[in-house]
C-alpha cells in the first residue's frame, strides 16, 4: 500500500494543537510507518509554493488547526482543501473559533486601536498601524489583510471531520488517526470522540440536586473533591460539552471550560450553557436572582469560551 500523504497546518491558533499532536508519543512511529508528512510549517521546511505545485487531491489527509483571522489563512485553507481528499478541523479554534474567536467581541478597528495605539506600553506617535500594502523605495510590500471577524474552518471551506479539544486529548487524536490509517472512516461531518454524550458522563463526581445560591470564580474557593462542581457554584461547562476527553479538568478540581464543543444535537453551546446555569439558580426573587447573576462577570467569555464565531450571533454588533 502506498503511504498516506498527510499535511498539517496552523492558522489563528496558539501552537498548542501541535503539542497535542505530539502527545501521541511513541505512536508517532506507527504513524510515520504508514504516512508521509508532506507539509507541516512548525516542523518541516516546505514552502507554500511547494504545496501550490502539488496536484489536486494529492494529499490524503489535512489536519488544520486554528480559526480564520486573515486573508493568508483563508487562502491556505482554500488551497489545502483543493489539494486534500480529507479535511479535518483539528482543535477548538478550527472547530468553533476558540480563544482567538473571542476577538469577535471587537472588530479590526477596535483591535488595532487597542494594540497599536492605546496599550500603556505603546509609543506610537505617528499612529502607524499595519496596512495590507506599503510603498517603499524598493517597491510595494504586502502583508495579509486582517479581517473584522474570526471565522471557523467550517465557515470558510468544506470540512469532512472534526477533532475537538484545546488541545485535543491524545486519545481523541489517536482515535481519528486509527480510523484514517485503517480506512474505516465515519460518516462525513462526524465530530470524532469516544463519547458523544456530555463531559458529565465521563466525570466521576457525585451528582445530586443542582441548586446554587452563589457562583464562584475558580480562585475564590477550594472545591470539595467528590461533588459536582456546578452544584458547588463553579461554572462548569461539562453539562453542555461533548465528552470523550475523559473529564481531566473536573478531576483536577477545575471546572470544564467547554473545549470539546457542544454535545451532539446542540447548535449553540453558549446559549445551552447559559440556559442550564440560569436554571440552577436557587431563587424565585428577581432581586436575589440579579445579585446571583452579578457574580457571572463575563457571560460571553464564560459561555462561549471556545465557540463565539460558531454561535448563532457569531460576533458582537459594533456600530
Amino acid at each position: 500500500m502506498a503511504k498516506l500523504k498527510v499535511a498539517l497546518y496552523w492558522a489563528a491558533s496558539c501552537g498548542g494543537c501541535e503539542i497535542g499532536q505530539l502527545q501521541i508519543g511513541e505512536k508517532i512511529l506507527k504513524l510515520v510507518e504508514v504516512a508521509d508528512i508532506v507539509f507541516w510549517p512548525v516542523a518541516i521546511d516546505v514552502k507554500y509554493k511547494d504545496v501550490e505545485a502539488m496536484p489536486s487531491k494529492s494529499i490524503d489527509v489535512c489536519l488544520f488547526n486554528g480559526g480564520i483571522r486573515n486573508s493568508e489563512q483563508e487562502h491556505i485553507a482554500k488551497m489545502l482543501r483543493e489539494k486534500s481528499k480529507v479535511m479535518i478541523a483539528y482543535g477548538a479554534c478550527a472547530y468553533g473559533g476558540g480563544i482567538p474567536g473571542l476577538a469577535n467581541l471587537f472588530n479590526k478597528q477596535t483591535i488595532f486601536d487597542r494594540v497599536y495605539l492605546e496599550t500603556p506600553s505603546t509609543l506610537n506617535n505617528d499612529h502607524t498601524v499595519p496596512q495590507p500594502k506599503t510603498k517603499v523605495p524598493e517597491g510595494e510590500l504586502n502583508i495579509p489583510e486582517f479581517y473584522d471577524s474570526v471565522k471557523t474552518l467550517r465557515q470558510t471551506i468544506d470540512v469532512d471531520y472534526v477533532i475537538p479539544g484545546c488541545p485535543p486529548e491524545e486519545r481523541t487524536t489517536w482515535l481519528a488517526l486509527e480510523a484514517l490509517i485503517s480506512g474505516k472512516l465515519p460518516p462525513k461531518g462526524t465530530v470524532i470522540t469516544h463519547n458523544a454524550k456530555a463531559v458529565c458522563d465521563d466525570c466521576s463526581r457525585k451528582r445530586d440536586v443542582k441548586k446554587v445560591k452563589k457562583f464562584y470564580r475558580t480562585f475564590e474557593m477550594i472545591p470539595e473533591p467528590e461533588i459536582c462542581l456546578l452544584e458547588q457554584g463553579l461554572l462548569c461547562a461539562g453539562i453542555t460539552t461533548r465528552g470523550g476527553c475523559g473529564a481531566p479538568c473536573p478531576q483536577a478540581n477545575m471546572p470544564c471550560t467547554g473545549c470539546y464543543g457542544p454535545v451532539a444535537g446542540v447548535i449553540d453551546q453558549g446559549a445551552h450553557f447559559l440556559s442550564a446555569v440560569a436554571s440552577v439558580i436557587d431563587s424565585n426573587n428577581p432581586e436575589e436572582v440579579r445579585k446571583i447573576i452579578d457574580d457571572i462577570r463575563d457571560p460571553v467569555g464564560t459561555f462561549y469560551r471556545y465557540s463565539l464565531p460558531d454561535s448563532l450571533l457569531g460576533r458582537a454588533r459594533i456600530k
Binding site: H272, S275, S311, L312, L313
Partner: protein, 140 residues
C-alpha cells in the same frame, strides 16, 4: 420605504396566548408587528430561541408568560425569569440593545396589557432601527 420592525413573540399557551387572543376578540387596535409563536410555557423558551430569532432577521424578541405564582406548571415562568436577565446581560456584551429583548407577564384576562406592550415595544424598536448584523467594519 419606512422601517417596519419585525418582532418575534414567544407566548405561553395558558396565559399570554389567551391574553393575545382576548385582545383580538375584543377588537383592540394594536401594532401588527409581532409574529406570534405559541409555546406551552415561558419556561420552555431556551435562550437559543431568542438568538435564533435575532439571527434569522427579527429586530426584537418578546417573551410573554403567566404572572409569578400563576404558572400552569407551577415554576416554569420563574425559570424564564432567571434565564432572561442572564441572557440580556450576555446580549449587552454582544452589542444588542436592551430593548430588543423583553420578558413580560400577561394573563389571560389582560388583552389591554398585551396590546399596550406590543405597541410600546414596536415603537421602541422603530426608534432603534433594524437589528444590525455586522461587526461595523468593511470585511465582516
Amino acid at each position: 420605504m419606512s422601517f417596519e420592525p419585525k418582532i418575534v413573540g414567544i407566548l405561553c399557551n395558558w396565559c399570554s396566548y389567551a391574553g393575545a387572543d382576548l385582545a383580538g376578540i375584543s377588537r383592540k387596535k394594536f401594532a401588527p408587528n409581532v409574529r406570534v409563536v405559541r409555546v406551552m410555557c415561558s419556561g420552555r423558551v431556551e435562550p437559543a430561541f431568542v438568538l435564533k430569532a435575532l439571527q434569522s432577521g427579527a429586530d426584537g424578541v418578546l417573551v410573554l408568560g403567566c404572572h409569578p405564582g400563576d404558572c400552569h406548571y407551577a415554576e416554569g415562568n420563574y425559570k424564564a425569569a432567571r434565564r432572561m436577565p442572564l441572557l440580556k446581560k450576555m446580549l449587552a456584551q454582544m452589542g444588542v440593545e436592551d430593548e430588543r429583548v423583553r420578558l413580560e407577564w400577561v394573563s389571560a384576562s389582560e388583552g389591554d396589557r398585551f396590546a399596550s406592550i406590543v405597541n410600546e415595544m414596536t415603537e421602541k424598536i422603530r426608534q432603534l432601527g433594524p437589528f444590525n448584523h455586522n461587526g461595523g467594519g468593511a470585511n465582516g
